[in-house]
């Protein structure tokens, strides 16, 4: 039941925020803040109940809620919380708060409806992280789409209509492919056992023929990767991220992308072990392509938001790479990267939004010398640019490093290619700083520096980055049991020289080495 609260608090607060607008814009904002803060506290409470480190892997959940919904089809309202969902829900509530703070001054029209949509979208995201009935999962997967679409279509920048359409059509196309395969899996379960079921645990037990598994896996993969995104399904990303209002950009990059990653980890990888070893190289290759492609394009962007968008594409490549590497190290890196990317990209979008508010543009050619104008903003930008390029000591570094380290044993060539992305990250991140903060001051107008609230939020995110960069253990131990279940028993055949028994202890050794300072 407590899990339902996590979903229902934002969902029920949504209409309240809309109504609250009648009295004051701030009422709507505070309702949204209150709802998300309650969610955050609730999630932290759930986390604190788990000191033993026994956050469950699959099969057993830390918290579970099960109610029948459509018995005819074997569909139930089945929620389950484990370490992975817990970490992502914490991230959701936190970034939700950040998104609202970031929109505090930006959104001045239809404030109530804006926050209504934000809360509905976040409620959907939390639902996605909790649902372990595939039908329910898809339900939430779609629920978050419409409010997100409205956020872009109503409050976006000049080209918002185009961007919102592209976003909706792309993700919906991916979703429908996913939907058909979910239904197919349920029917295969019916063929095998005589009753249809959408339940995660039931479907985990299902054995599929190789050909069927291959197709289904492909469909599950496409459905999630569109959201992630990775090439060649990424073309909606730059437009959408750029045209969305700041708050929506933060949610899109920080959370919606994570739902795709979560889907890969929760469903694609464990449901189809039959074809995993064959498919993994392809997925990892796509991940590496995403890393390099995103990085190359980010280098040549002149628009700040577009640059962050492409860098986000590049970072998501690491997630794809790690998710299919099949080693525990890489999978833990993925979790770290999920959190770290949420924080760093969220902060960069927040900064881009702040710049847009001050100069009505995010075109970097028209900026320069901002360090002298808004020192707070420029210094935070430098910090998060460093985080984004993977400076050791910050969370992104842990994530990317673990992914690369863990993937090397599976696909050395791909991993070597991918690691070039980290170099490119330095190029575009520092290039961004060069264009905006340093050099001659092109913008003669004086602009106010970041407000205390925004600055405080950014400082908080920076503190988390440092904390997780130096002491990643809380996140890693919480998610480790889940990740252990995802480790592929069979290492791809080309690397039989390194038997799994050799890798695993060293992997654990390294994790404990990193995580205990």
């Amino acid at each position: 039941m407590v899990l339902w609260f996590l979903i229902l608090i934002p969902m029920l607060a949504a209409p309240l925020a809309w109504i609250g607008q009648q009295w004051s814009r701030h009422v709507a904002r505070w309702i949204a803040i209150g709802a998300l803060a309650t969610d955050l506290c609730l999630a932290l409470l759930l986390w604190s109940q788990d000191h033993s480190g026994q956050v469950s892997g699959h099969g057993s959940w830390l918290f579970e809620s099960h109610t029948s919904w459509i018995p005819l089809w074997g569909i139930s309202l089945h929620l389950g919380l484990d370490g992975l969902s817990l970490v992502l829900i914490l991230l959701t509530a936190f970034l939700g708060l950040i998104a609202i703070v970031a929109s505090w001054t930006e959104i001045q029209s239809r404030v109530g409806f804006f926050h209504c949509n934000v809360l509905l979208a976040l409620g959907g995201v939390i639902g996605v992280f909790l649902a372990i009935d595939l039908f329910l999962f898809f339900f939430f997967w779609e629920v978050m789409l419409v409010p997100m679409y409205l956020l872009i279509a109503v409050w976006g920048h000049a080209n918002r209509r185009y961007a919102s359409f592209k976003f909706f059509l792309f993700t919906q196309a991916g979703s429908l492919v996913l939907f058909v395969s979910i239904i197919t899996v349920a029917f295969l379960h019916q063929q095998a056992t005589g009753r249809p079921s959408f339940d995660y645990a039931d479907l985990m037990r299902l054995t599929l023929s190789k050909e069927m598994a291959w197709w289904l896996m492909l469909a599950f993969f496409i459905g999630f990767v569109v959201k992630l995104p990775a090439p060649p399904f990424h073309t909606w990303l730059p437009d959408t991220y750029t045209e969305a209002p700041t708050g929506a950009s933060i949610i899109l990059a920080g959370l919606l992308a994570k739902t795709g990653a979560y889907g890969l980890l929760r469903f694609t990888v464990p449901l189809f072990p039959e074809v995993m070893s064959e498919f993994a190289p392809i997925a990892m290759g796509l991940g590496a392509i995403g890393i390099l492609y995103g990085a190359v394009l980010a280098c040549s962007q002149t628009d700040l938001k577009r640059l962050v968008a492409y860098s986000s594409l590049s970072h998501m490549g690491f997630i794809l790479l790690g998710a299919f590497a099949g080693t525990e190290l890489a999978l833990q890196g993925v979790v770290m990267q999920l959190v770290a990317h949420g924080l760093s990209t969220g902060a960069l979008f927040m900064l881009a939004g702040a710049l847009y508010e001050r100069f009505q543009t995010t075109d970097m050619r028209q900026m320069g010398g901002l360090w002298g104008v808004i020192p707070r903003g420029a210094s935070m930008a430098l910090f998060f640019a460093c985080a984004s390029l993977g400076l050791p000591g910050l969370a992104n570094f842990i994530g990317e490093f673990l992914v690369l380290f863990g993937s090397y044993s599976a696909q050395p060539m791909v991993t070597i290619l991918a690691s070039i992305g980290m170099v490119m990250a330095a190029v575009y991140s520092l290039g961004m700083m060069q264009h905006t903060s340093f050099g001659p001051q092109r913008e003669t107008r004086l602009a106010p520096d970041l407000s205390n609230v925004v600055f405080g939020a950014l400082l908080l995110m920076a503190a988390l980055q440092v904390l997780l960069g130096l002491y990643p253990r809380p996140v890693l131990t919480t998610t480790r049991p889940v990740m252990e279940t995802l480790v592929q028993p069979a290492v791809p055949s080309s690397h039989l020289t390194h038997p799994p028994s050799d890798q695993m202890p060293s992997a654990n050794l390294f994790t404990s080495h990193v995580s205990s300072p």
């Binding site: 779609e142 789409l145 197919t184």
Partner: protein, 495 residues
């Protein structure tokens, strides 16, 4: 025995009696409100006889009619949809037909059309089939052209009349061929041919195809869809809603029974033909809707596409198909009523609100109305929390179950395409520029004008159905499964 027959036929007898009484009441004294309430109550009372009739079902009343749970379910759909249309019509007629004398017959025609629909749902014989269809078609024809003083409705009425006549001609020819080959006019008897002979005679096949074409003409499946956009646009908005829902629902009930009883889906050639029709309908409907600037035409094209989705579900065959089709039709009726209901309520004197510009920024001026339209459109697009999602789920599930991969893929692709134009309309609702900006005073006054409580009530009912079926579809699913098993079972028991 005889009494049981009467009980089974109670809904039809009931509504027939009410038709006569309504006619007499109009002759006695004209009063719009009174007749509207009377028509509404007629439907409601007929609806109340359904459980009673269910006690006597399944039952074959003469060779013409079969009253089973399946038919009763569709009757319920037809009647409740008609009730919603009546609720929507009342204020619309008051506003639109101010100068028009004799509004009351509108309700009589509506009841007659509904009566025809009821007959269709229970038909198991060509004669009852044809009678029901003609009753429905002729009443609708007069309803479409009910506003004699305007050009568009008259044009639409003539178009519908021509369509009806050609459909009937084709249908009759098909029936004649089937009778020639099988010597029987009952669906079941026609189907016997397939079991008796090794190879199916060509004329029999031709007959089935012709009957199907006749039905497809009425349903507006591509390539027999030419009349749909014009009639949908020209007809008064509540009547458009009626054509799109009651008439379609009753025909689908008949088509499903016909296809099941005749066993048409056991012939590969017919399956191929139907598949082709399904794909052509989906693609044509969606493509033509893409760049529509007229809301009614857009909904008309979308209804063609939805006909295609329905065929995909139908093609799956067996109980899964019957369930999926039935669920889809119910859902489709709810969401179409929602969309056209908004058009009805939002229409002002002198013409329906059908241009995109009419809806610009509606959300900021009349949020409830816009929310209703958004809900219906999202449902048509098949987005969760709405009934349309579960409907699409059913259709895809039926297709997957039967292994119709290509059709399912076509359905998905078309769903994505269709999203584009639904979104285009939705985004118009949320556009910056408020509607009152174009015509400063006149519109603003109109926009605050009450929608009329009957219409509000009807739309509220429809909205809650869309949401309820989207969130908690279990009970309806079980009801449908039970009813449909009745259709298949009775089909087998009859000689």
């Amino acid at each position: 025995m005889i009494l049981q027959d009467f009980i089974a036929l109670a809904p039809i007898l009931d509504l027939g009696a009410f038709c006569v009484i309504t006619m007499l009441a109009i002759a006695f004294r004209r009063n719009h409100a009174r007749i509207a309430v009377f028509a509404f109550m007629s439907c409601l009372l007929t609806l109340a006889t359904l459980p009673w009739a269910a006690t006597a079902s399944p039952r074959a009343v003469t060779a013409l009619l079969i009253v089973d749970r399946y038919a009763l379910l569709y009757m319920g759909l037809v009647l409740s949809t008609a009730m919603v249309v009546i609720g929507l019509s009342y204020r619309y007629l008051n506003v639109q037909f101010r100068e028009h004398e004799g509004i009351e017959e509108y309700y009589l025609l509506l009841l007659l059309a509904t009566f025809g629909g009821l007959v269709l749902t229970v038909s198991a014989h060509f004669v009852s089939f044809f009678l029901g269809l003609e009753l429905l078609g002729l009443s609708l024809c007069s309803l479409i052209g009910y506003v004699r003083t305007r050009r568009h409705p008259m044009e639409a009425a003539v178009k519908y009349l021509l369509l009806s006549i050609s459909a009937s001609a084709i249908l009759l020819f098909g029936m004649a061929l089937l009778y020639f080959e099988s010597g029987s006019m009952t669906f079941r008897g026609v189907g016997m041919v397939m079991k008796q002979v090794q190879t199916v005679p060509g004329l029999w096949l031709g007959g089935v195809v012709l009957v199907f074409v006749g039905v497809a003409l009425k349903l507006g499946l591509a390539p027999f869809h030419m009349w749909i956009p014009d009639v949908y646009q020209g007809a008064p908005a509540p009547i458009t809603a009626y054509i799109a829902t009651v008439s379609k629902g009753a025909l689908v009930a008949l088509l499903l029974r016909f296809v099941t009883d005749v066993g048409a889906l056991q012939l590969p050639s017919l399956v191929h033909l139907f598949s082709l029709l399904a794909v052509v309908s989906m693609v044509t409907g969606n493509m033509l809707a893409l760049f529509q600037q007229n809301v009614k035409r857009l909904l008309a094209y979308s209804s063609i596409a939805h006909g295609g989705y329905l065929l995909v579900a139908l093609l799956a065959g067996g109980p899964a198909a019957a369930e999926a089709v039935t669920f889809y039709v119910i859902v489709y009726c709810a969401m179409t009523l929602g969309a056209f209901g908004v058009v009805t309520v939002y229409s002002r004197e002198g013409g329906d609100a059908e241009r995109f510009e009419d809806y610009r920024g509606l959300f900021w001026t009349r949020p409830w109305l816009a929310a209703m339209l958004t809900l219906s459109l999202l449902s048509l697009a098949g987005i969760p929390v709405t009934a349309g999602f579960i409907g699409k789920f059913y259709a895809i599930a039926a297709g997957v179950d039967a292994g119709l991969w290509w059709l399912v893929l076509a359905l998905i692709g078309n769903s994505v395409i269709s999203l584009y134009y639904y979104l285009r309309l939705i985004v118009t609702l949320f556009d910056e520029e408020p509607a009152s900006a174009t015509t400063p005073q006149g519109r603003a006054v109109q926009s605050t004008e009450a929608a009329g409580w009957t219409a509000v009530f009807s739309l509220g009912l429809v909205a809650s159905m869309i949401l309820l079926l989207g969130v908690y579809p279990g009970p309806l699913m079980e009801l449908i499964r039970e009813s449909v098993s009745n259709l298949l079972m009775v089909g087998m028991q009859r000689p």
